[in-house]
């Protein structure tokens, strides 16, 4: 065998994506692209009431339509185990929990026939009066036992009320963010193929491994029955995380009933009620400070919504816990269960809306104290996590703010609002801080040396566009001390064993831990002369114990965002000609794909600042703008110059690769930076997203 022990470290180099050519030539197959012989197609029949019961389904007429193979519904669906996940407990009774919930699935031999039959299916309901509209003073608001993912609902220290009463300067304001939908470009799709008592499920998921235990419990499958494949995933942003979405359950049910492979691809409008969204929020911030802007009190209270099917509480006030130091602090959450679809993860859940509130309030405090907003943040840097008292493994917020200020040209900024008129535009600039937790979850990986000198690494990671396949290849190559083209990283197969999903900015940290460890061990075995069997030599590592043994630190990525905003004097149209993002995210494995993630996060931040809002029609419990023409996301024409940079952030308390993850931090604080800049431009405070022309106009 030949093996090159050349020291050519790949980490830190802008390697183009391993699967890049497959993606630009159309060869890359996503879940709904996989060719399967004998495929049948399932189309969802959605409920058209927000609350009540299904009285009658006209199954017979539907079955008589051309090409219809089956109708899956409450009378013939496989019986499921109630695993406490109402969104997946499909066709088990006659209750309708929200508008758009599946009441039947029509399976036909062509997509056209399935769709027509589903659209024509007659369903009779017994409707009940719904409660669908979120309000900050809803009487049903309560304190849940915990908030996502498992954070305490309430934290506090000191006496916030007394400190506020004695503070020289007080800011007390409410901030609102609307329901937002993730809208990855690839709609959810699941294809179930049964053979020999086993099921292969091709699905669009951020968490190939995680789908298996959930569906196995739900259906009562024995271990080894279900295998999930997700080689390429067309974006997720949390929307394809855990739990699996209903398309997976529907495909498995249908394939079981018709004895053929079945594909269920949701339509774009069906994503609104069936796959999750970010809850609307109402957040009250109270800040007390001395005349120089040093905080004495910080309170963050969040009101949120969930559904009646499942309690899911977005951790919006969690953002304020480690961010700025104050002697007296309180954060709390309340949630109300409505007759609406269940909210789920959306990029930087908690931190995205929470940062809009706190970072906007900090700008108001800067104004009230007459302190520059960058300087104000520097003055409130805590030495340790102000809520838990833990030391930070590393905290480079100040570096991010200083580097950003210099790149953006912040020095000499006139703090006065509404004094920069430039033709038809009011111009302004704004800043916000950002943080996002740096976590890792137990994962197993295998590294195999093959007799031809190449290596194969297997881990059930998902590449939803993050560049996971590419950065894992780089990390594995360096650990093996071989060039990247000698290493193949295989991902997106639940058969590779337990693995974290692509979520919570934990993917690279979690997957690389066992990948790097197994590769190093394998290299050591080879160097020690261990013989290479014909089918290869494999090292396997499970990171569970190593993660549990980590020292007690507060681990976070930090960042700063700067925005330049122009507001049309007449129409109120808001433009963002320039954004700067500076991040401390541990080690940057691949500056090319990292930059793509960062500009992607900032772009989504811009999009939520100016455009995104799902509008609930309270009578129907349906979002009226459930399509991409009426729910606006940023397009190419909305985005200006984006400057991204990373500060050095060596941190030995993270994981073997020293990475913190950077999928989410790019969105955190961007809306606040833009809102603060809009105020600087016009003098009108923006406490509610999105900043529409009507809200922005002076």
């Amino acid at each position: 065998m030949t093996r090159f022990w050349q020291a050519a470290p790949s980490v830190g180099h802008p390697l183009t994506r391993i699967e890049g050519l497959d993606k630009v030539t159309g060869r890359a197959r996503y879940a709904g692209d996989v060719a399967v012989p004998g495929l049948a197609y399932g189309a969802v029949v959605p409920a058209t009431i927000p609350r009540g019961r299904v009285l009658n389904l006209d199954v017979e007429a539907t079955l008589a339509m051309p090409g219809v193979l089956a109708v899956v519904h409450r009378d013939n669906a496989p019986r499921l185990t109630d695993i406490g996940e109402g969104t997946l407990f499909l066709f088990q009774g006659d209750r309708v929990a929200h508008w758009g919930a599946p009441v039947a699935l029509v399976v036909a031999d062509t997509p056209e026939r399935a769709r027509e039959a589903a659209e024509r299916m007659r369903v009779d309901y017994f409707p009940e009066p719904p409660d669908t509209v979120f309000r900050a003073d809803h009487p049903g608001l309560y304190e849940p036992e915990y908030v996502n993912p498992r954070n305490p609902t309430v934290t506090g220290k000191g006496d916030v009320d007394a400190a506020l009463a004695g503070a020289a300067v007080v800011v007390d304001a409410e901030y609102r963010t609307p329901a937002q939908h993730n809208n990855a470009m690839e709609p959810h799709s699941a294809t179930a193929v049964r053979s020999d008592g086993r099921i292969t499920l091709h699905t669009s998921t951020q968490y190939a491994y995680g789908v298996v235990p959930t569906l196995s419990k739900l259906f009562g499958f024995a271990p080894g029955t279900l295998r999930v494949l997700s080689e390429h995933v067309g974006g997720g942003f949390g929307n394809k995380g855990m739990p699996p979405r209903p398309d997976t359950v529907l495909a498995v049910m249908a394939a079981t009933l018709v004895g053929r492979p079945v594909r269920v691809t949701l339509t774009r409008p069906q994503l609104w009620p069936l796959t999750g969204y970010r809850t609307p929020t109402a957040q009250r911030i109270r800040l007390g400070a001395d005349q120089d802007g040093r905080l004495v009190a910080l309170e963050h209270r969040a009101a949120l919504q969930t559904s009646r099917l499942h309690e899911f509480t977005e951790q919006a006030a969690v953002y304020s816990r480690p961010m700025y130091g104050a002697e007296n602090m309180r954060t709390s959450h309340r949630v109300v269960a409505l007759d609406v679809p269940t909210p789920r993860w959306m990029r930087a859940p908690g931190e995205a809306p929470g940062s809009f509130a706190l970072e906007s309030a900090m700008d108001e405090l800067a104004e009230a104290c007459g302190v520059d907003p960058v300087e104000l943040r520097l003055r409130n840097e805590p030495a340790v996590d102000p809520t838990t008292g833990q030391a930070f493994s590393s905290r480079r917020l100040a570096d991010c703010l200083r580097v950003g200020a210099s790149r953006f040209g912040w020095a000499g900024r006139d703090p006065r609002p509404a004094v920069r008129r430039d033709g038809r535009w009011w111009r302004g600039t704004g800043v916000a801080g950002a943080h996002y937790p740096a976590r890792a979850a137990p994962t197993t990986a295998h590294a195999t040396a093959l007799p031809d000198g190449s290596f194969v690494v297997r881990v059930a990671a998902s590449d939803i566009g993050t560049g996971a396949r590419t950065v894992l290849t780089q990390l594995a190559a360096d650990a093996l001390e071989v060039p990247v083209d000698q290493v193949r990283v295989l991902i997106g197969d639940s058969g590779f064993g337990p693995a974290m999903g692509a979520g919570g900015s934990m993917g690279t940290a979690s997957w690389s831990w066992p990948v790097v460890t197994a590769c190093r061990e394998l290299a050591g075995r080879l160097a020690a002369g261990e013989p290479l069997p014909p089918d290869g030599l494999t090292s396997t590592f499970d990171s569970t114990a190593a993660i549990g043994a980590r020292a007690d630190y507060a681990r976070y990525a930090f960042g700063a965002h700067f925005a330049e905003v122009a507001v049309d004097v007449t129409t109120g149209e808001v433009r963002v000609p320039r954004l700067t993002g500076v991040y401390a995210v541990g080690r940057v494995v691949n500056p090319l794909t990292a930059r793509s993630q960062s500009i992607g996060g900032m772009t989504m931040g811009l999009s939520t600042a100016l455009l995104e809002e799902s509008s609930m029609d309270g009578r129907f419990g349906d979002w009226v703008n459930h399509n991409l023409a009426d729910y606006h996301v940023a397009t190419n024409a909305d985005v200006g110059e984006i400057d991204v940079t990373y500060v050095d952030d060596p941190d030995d308390e993270l994981n073997p690769s020293g990475v913190k993850g950077l999928g989410e931090i790019g969105i955190v604080g961007v809306a606040a930076a833009i809102a603060n800049a809009a105020w600087h431009a016009t003098g009108v405070r923006q406490r509610e997203l999105p900043i529409t022309p009507a809200r922005a106009a002076r």
Binding site: G20, T25, A35, T603, N636
Partner: protein, 170 residues
């Protein structure tokens, strides 16, 4: 109750080769490509002409294939992302890889077909909403003309850079 289903025989030129098949009249060009011909490079993001993921070239012009019925493109020439490369990738495909002009890649075939069609429109001096005089390629023109292709991953600055390079603006 539904009326009888209608089907038609359709002949077209697809990526340079003739194709003839019987299609359900309800079938869109997008579904014909994806479900009947296993050309899944062309993606379905919305099925309503709202996202651009399904963009192909029809007689050389960019169109949303989800808005074309298959029966309506009979006799015409369709080029999909699979038909752009010869032995080598098309320069636009290579530039998208080099500039990392995508993340998940799901919008990418549509972006690439759209970019190729767009450069022909520029060459033919078609004005856009941001043109103020004779049409010249700059970033504002690219952003405006590519605004019909949504990239939720937000690769826009890299898409602009890739197109600029292919157009010779770099």
């Amino acid at each position: 109750m539904a009326g009888p289903e209608l089907a038609s025989t359709v002949r077209l030129m697809l990526n340079g080769a003739p194709v003839e098949l019987v299609v359900d009249n309800r079938t869109t060009l997008l579904d014909l490509l994806r479900d009947r011909l296993d050309l899944t490079g062309t993606k379905k993001g919305c099925d309503h002409g709202q996202c651009g993921a399904c963009t192909v070239l029809l007689d050389g012009r960019r169109v949303n294939s989800c808005l074309q019925l298959a029966v309506a493109v009979a006799g015409r020439e369709v080029t999909t992302v699979e038909g752009l490369a010869d032995d080598e990738p098309h320069p636009m495909q290579a530039a998208f890889v080099a500039h990392d002009a995508f993340q998940c890649g799901y919008c990418t075939p549509g972006q690439i077909c759209s970019a190729i069609g767009m450069l022909d429109e520029l060459a033919a001096s078609w004005p856009s909403a941001v043109s103020t005089g004779p049409v010249r390629l700059d970033d504002a023109e690219i952003r405006e003309r590519m605004a019909g292709n949504i990239c939720r991953c937000g690769a826009y600055p890299h898409i602009v850079a890739a197109i600029r390079e292919v157009a010779g603006g770099d």
